[in-house]
């Protein structure tokens, strides 16, 4: 039943692994964000530790826009977008495929940039950092579940890139707030029981917007 979604996922991942366009652009862009932040906010190491979680998410979110924009704009070439709309399948399937590919690409990029982040900001590696995995996973899914559907909306416009940012950022602000708080808790080693309810909230956000987007995606494709 989910074969359409998996075909799209396979196609997207194959394209990405051949060209490495998105991941490379996202990675370099994040690197740039770290460098620019370093120049613009000359702060002591202690303050740096406090703002590090925010910086990490700024890098994720800004770079994530590349992946999201790419995801549907590449379908625009050769009229693929129309072909997708004509496919005799549930629109939700296409959403799931696109969502999975964007999420996987973004998670891989996060895994690649995180070591650089650790080195630049001289963070102490510890076992507790494994708790970052669910935090990044839940936060990224929230970002991409809304991002995928809004990217599909924005791709129909003349000014796709700016419009996606305008639509997406206010809507994902809860994810950013919660994820930055959670990441801060993990990095400072204060991963206490207090963060589980927070993680549940991020999870709830993911479920709500994934389901909603799945249901609404049909309307975006049709003409």
């Amino acid at each position: 039943m989910m074969s359409t979604a998996f075909s799209i996922l396979k196609k997207d991942l194959r394209m990405e692994f051949r060209s490495k366009e998105s991941i490379l652009a996202m990675w370099i862009f994040s690197l740039l964000i770290f460098v620019i932040f370093n120049f613009t906010f000359e702060v002591s190491r202690l303050v740096m530790l406090e703002i590090a979680p925010g910086l990490l998410w700024v890098a994720f979110v800004f770079s994530g826009m590349f992946g999201l924009n790419q995801s549907f704009s590449m379908e625009k070439e050769n009229g693929n977008l129309r072909a997708m709309a004509l496919m005799p399948v549930d629109g939700g399937q296409i959403y799931v495929g696109k969502f999975l590919s964007v999420t996987i690409i973004m998670l891989m990029f996060e895994a690649l940039i995180f070591p650089i982040f650790i080195i630049f900001y001289d963070l102490q590696l510890s076992l507790g950092m494994f708790m970052l995995i669910p935090v990044l996973l839940a936060g990224t899914i929230g970002f991409t579940s809304l991002g995928t559907i809004l990217s599909a909306v924005a791709v129909h416009t003349r000014n796709q890139q700016i419009l996606l940012s305008l639509l997406l950022w206010p809507l994902v602000s809860p994810i950013i707030i919660w994820s930055v708080t959670l990441t801060g808790m993990v990095l400072s080693g204060e991963m206490t029981e207090a963060c589980y309810p927070l993680l549940v909230r991020v999870g709830a956000f993911d479920v709500i917007f994934f389901t909603l987007s799945y249901m609404l995606f049909d309307f975006i494709l049709e003409d």
Partner: protein
């Protein structure tokens, strides 16, 4: 197009606004505050809160219109939700302007990243993006579908945004209606309700006018198209 209802509405509105201005600036007793600036600034409350209420109501109408459009595919609902989004943005802009005017003499600052202020700003940004999206799309069923989808997602996101921003310590005064110790005195309550009713009437009038205008544009566009075919 000009109906009798609109004319009557307009006359009622004019009178109601004059009355509410009288109530707000003359009739309502001065509040007891140590700071004289605060006593004057407090009266902005009668504009600020009704505007906020209308903003939320307008966005609720956008949501209902969007759902109704996707279910029925009736262009009428698309136009209603667009008209309502425009008016909602207008009223939330008023909230964002009147709020700092009040805050400066009372809190001593124009702006603080408190939950209500921040969430109002994000609310404003969501619906400005909604209107921008429509600007960037050519007219047609595609635009109607896309904006309806955004109208639905946006509205469902609003309470979540509010909830998430509550993480920051709130500096905003508690809702006077809800808290028991700070309930409004009778004349204030009356003036407030009168102002609220006036603003709601203004919303009704504006959305009627805006809807008629949009429908008129539609008719003209259709006639132009027909002429081109000929």
């Amino acid at each position: 197009m000009r109906s009798k209802i609109d004319k009557i509405l307009l006359i009622i509105l004019l009178i109601a606004f004059l009355v509410s201005i009288y109530l707000i600036f003359q009739w309502v007793p001065q509040i007891k505050a140590s700071n004289p600036a605060e006593q004057i600034a407090q009266r902005i409350f009668y504009f600020h809160v009704p505007s906020a209420w209308l903003g939320f109501m307008a966005f609720f109408v956008v949501f209902c219109g969007s759902v109704a459009y996707l279910v029925t595919r009736d262009r009428k609902y698309e136009l209603i939700s667009v008209a309502s989004a425009e008016i909602g943005v207008l009223f939330i802009s008023l909230v964002l302007i009147t709020g700092p005017i009040w805050a400066k003499p009372v809190w001593g600052i124009w702006w603080t990243w408190d939950v209500r202020l921040t969430s109002s700003l994000i609310l404003w940004l969501i619906y400005v993006a909604f209107l921008m999206l429509r600007r960037y799309l050519p007219d047609g069923s595609k635009r109607a579908n896309l904006s309806a989808v955004v109208g639905i997602i946006g509205f469902i996101d609003v309470p979540i945004v509010y909830y998430s921003i509550r993480w920051w310590e709130t500096q905003h005064p508690k809702a006077v209606m809800a808290s028991s110790e700070g309930s409004l005195a009778a004349p204030m309550f009356f003036a407030f309700m009168f102002s609220l009713a006036t603003f709601t009437l203004l919303y009704v009038y504006l959305i009627r006018k805006r809807y008629q205008l949009l429908a008129l544009e539609d008719t003209i566009n259709k006639q132009f198209k027909e002429m081109e075919i000929l």
